[in-house]
């Protein structure tokens, strides 16, 4: 039997499987399903050593005790925990947050704190209230992929400023701001991750911090300081936050995702008074209120657990993993170069000349190892010969195995480049939308 017979009525109109195709905002049409995102589906399998995601080592937490803590919250204060809460966030947690920030030299009043659904929402509401389409945001080169996703969604124009081993280069920042002003561009803020940068792994030196604050102050540019990793230094005490140097010139974003657990999705923003009011309104418009349950869990954790001791334990675990990654890179991929981070989660690797990390990713997935290609951290398509390797999640043994596999991928890719030339190996300059795998 043949069911495609002439008896079937002719079709004059096709379907695009999306009845709302003509209704989307222009920016939605730029959203694409990429091959790269699809490849990350494999990274979740245990056979694959994922050096891609910035997932904290949750296995290091006392999960049984935390489970009991959660049970008690629901049993004893469920009527509050499971109800809507305040748009600005729970007052008691905001007070605790000021104590956490004091460790990095920030003196803030609980009224200045806005609790957010992860600092990712903080990024979104700050961008929402400051950015009109086409406004300029200055950001480090490279910059956090999740922030770039927010900036793109709000149609900002991101201009990157280089970093070196001491973080953002003040002279380059000055030069960029002068050039943008001369070009009549409107710079709304500098976005920076000063501590254990994601993805570059570097920290803005103590000497440069006042210089950066001063440059932005002179140019009338607000600073958005994103600091999820500040307490995760391996060998030193936290450096003073930019916010501590300029309370009126800096919006500060903090997070419990890396120091405790990202599953609660609790972060915060601290902003000058007038800005804070707008942030609360923007947050309420988006989410009404952050989760009471999550906030109460964080509060209870801060009250009843040795959270500073836990951070110390995390640091030691992460230092061991960093050591494993650096020694594996030295042993297996000596032709690459990299920084040695002294905190945080990431090593930023520069591949041998001619290699393109994005082009190479399918081969890596075949070899059962995953990473994030450097282009994800730029808005201008650069960074092709870089990759970000995360050491936070896999054990030291798995890290070693992952880097060993990566070395075979690098060798195979070098062979392809030798055959076809570096120009043919370059991936198309494009910007990928971030997914939670890349946070």
């Amino acid at each position: 039997m043949n069911e495609s017979t002439p008896s079937v009525p002719p079709v004059t109109e096709g379907t695009r499987l999306d009845p709302w195709l003509n209704s989307y905002a222009a920016r939605a049409h730029r959203m694409r399903a990429s091959e790269i995102r699809a490849l990350f589906a494999v990274a979740s399998r245990p056979e694959v050593v994922s050096l891609a995601g910035g997932m904290p080592f949750i296995g290091g937490l006392p999960l049984g005790d935390i489970g009991e803590m959660m049970r008690r919250i629901v049993a004893e204060r469920g009527a509050v925990a499971l109800q809507y809460g305040s748009g600005q966030g729970d007052e008691y947690l905001r007070e605790q947050i000021t104590q956490v920030m004091a460790l990095e030299g920030i003196a803030a009043h609980p009224d200045d704190v806005v609790v957010t659904t992860g600092s990712q929402q903080g990024l979104d509401i700050v961008t929402n209230i400051f950015i009109d389409p086409g406004d300029v945001i200055v950001a480090e080169a490279p910059s956090y992929v999740g922030a770039l996703g927010v900036f793109r969604a709000r149609e900002a124009d991101v201009v990157h400023v280089p970093m070196d081993a001491d973080g953002l280069v003040p002279a380059a920042l000055e030069e960029t701001l002068v050039a943008l002003k001369a070009a009549g561009r409107r710079v709304k803020f500098l976005y920076t991750v000063p501590n254990y940068h994601n993805p570059a792994g570097v920290t803005l030196s103590a000497e440069r911090r006042p210089q950066i604050v001063d440059i932005c102050h002179r140019h009338g540019v607000l600073i958005l300081e994103d600091n999820p990793y500040g307490l995760l230094g391996f060998d030193r005490e936290p450096l003073p936050a930019l916010r501590s140097l300029s309370p009126e010139g800096v919006i500060y974003l903090g997070s419990f995702s890396k120091t405790f657990a990202p599953g609660f999705r609790v972060g915060w923003a601290v902003a000058p008074h007038a800005v804070r009011e707008k942030l609360v309104l923007a947050s309420e418009a988006a989410i009404l209120s952050p989760s009471n349950m999550s906030q109460m869990a964080i509060s209870a954790y801060l009250d009843h657990f040795d959270w500073q001791g836990q951070i110390k334990a995390f640091r030691e675990q992460y230092r061991d993993r960093r050591d494993a990654m650096i020694s594996a890179l030295q042993e297996f991929i000596p032709s690459a170069t990299w920084n040695v981070p002294d905190g945080g989660f990431y090593v930023w690797v520069k591949l041998p000349e001619g290699l393109d990390a994005k082009s190479m990713l399918p081969r890596a997935v075949t070899a059962r190892v995953a990473y994030v290609a450097g282009t994800a951290f730029f808005m201008d398509g650069s960074g092709a010969n870089y990759m970000r390797l995360s050491y936070c999640y896999p054990t030291p043994e798995r890290i070693r195995e992952g880097v060993k596999r990566l070395a075979t991928v690098v060798d195979a890719e070098l062979e392809t480049v030798r055959i076809f030339g570096a120009a043919a190996s370059a991936s198309e300059a494009s910007v990928d939308f971030p997914s939670p795998d890349l946070a």
């Binding site: 043949n2 069911e3 495609s4 079937v8 079709v11 096709g14 589906a41 082009s359 055959i419 076809f420």
Partner: protein, 313 residues
Amino acid sequence: MDVMILAGGLSHERDVSLRSGRRVLDSLRDLGDNVSLNDVDADLIPSLRSLDVDVVWPIVHGASGEDGSLQGLLEMLGVAYVGTAAKEARVAWIKPVAKAVLARAGIATPDFVTLPQSLFREAGAEHVLAALAERFGLPVVVKPASGGSALGVTLVTKPDDLAHALVHCFAYGDIALIERAVTGTEVAVSVLGEGDSARTLPGVEIVCDGPYDYDARYNPGRVEYFAPARLSPQMADAVANTALATHRELGLRDLSRIDVIVAEDGTVNVLDVNVVPGLTEVSLFPQAVAAAGLELGQLYREILAGAVARGAA
């Protein structure tokens, strides 16, 4: 009916496979079947031995799911399963082999050459690229010799892009298939059954504002589908007959999707053969089922019942 769907796997198409598997699971559960969804991992064989399933439906795309490996394993275990048998899947999976089989049977398929990366090294990339340009001209399609979902596939329209397309292809596999690009009407034909009793569903015509690549396939909106395809009755029959002949010649079973292009001169060229066609919400097979006026879950049930009746290999 107790059914185990296998989806996921470790190929580049894991994501698509999981989406397909979940769709089939939902359709069957709606009909009251007892269905489980399993990945292909170390738990698979113990699960198959401990659970008393009537039939397994492997919906694993990419290598190991479509190359006959998984089918071979199921045959070894004596489990009834849906789809093409191991040996035939192996032949269909290797595109140049399948194309050679079809060409020998008189079924048109675009002119092609198969080249491993090592040959470019040995013979000199510059010389091989020049020979390719001379032999095929442009445009050509460069694709991995095995694989699906258009991963690693490039339509090359400019001479300078050929090397880049090959590098992209070799990231997915060591062997490239370079074929002459045929312009015309692209139609995907889903085929059910096997041998003499095989039958086609209405062809789905694909009209894309660029290459029918990964993004176009899985990001609804870029592609306009016409089901049934806008072909004359005679041409629709020719397309259906080509798909049927392909399905039979390669010994495919239960369901397949044969992608063809009707050239301007009316020749029906087979572009690709899919032993495990995508069954996601935006895939072509469910669209063909709808165009035939059939109910998806009911059809899946019939396919499963056929596999149960056939029993283990």
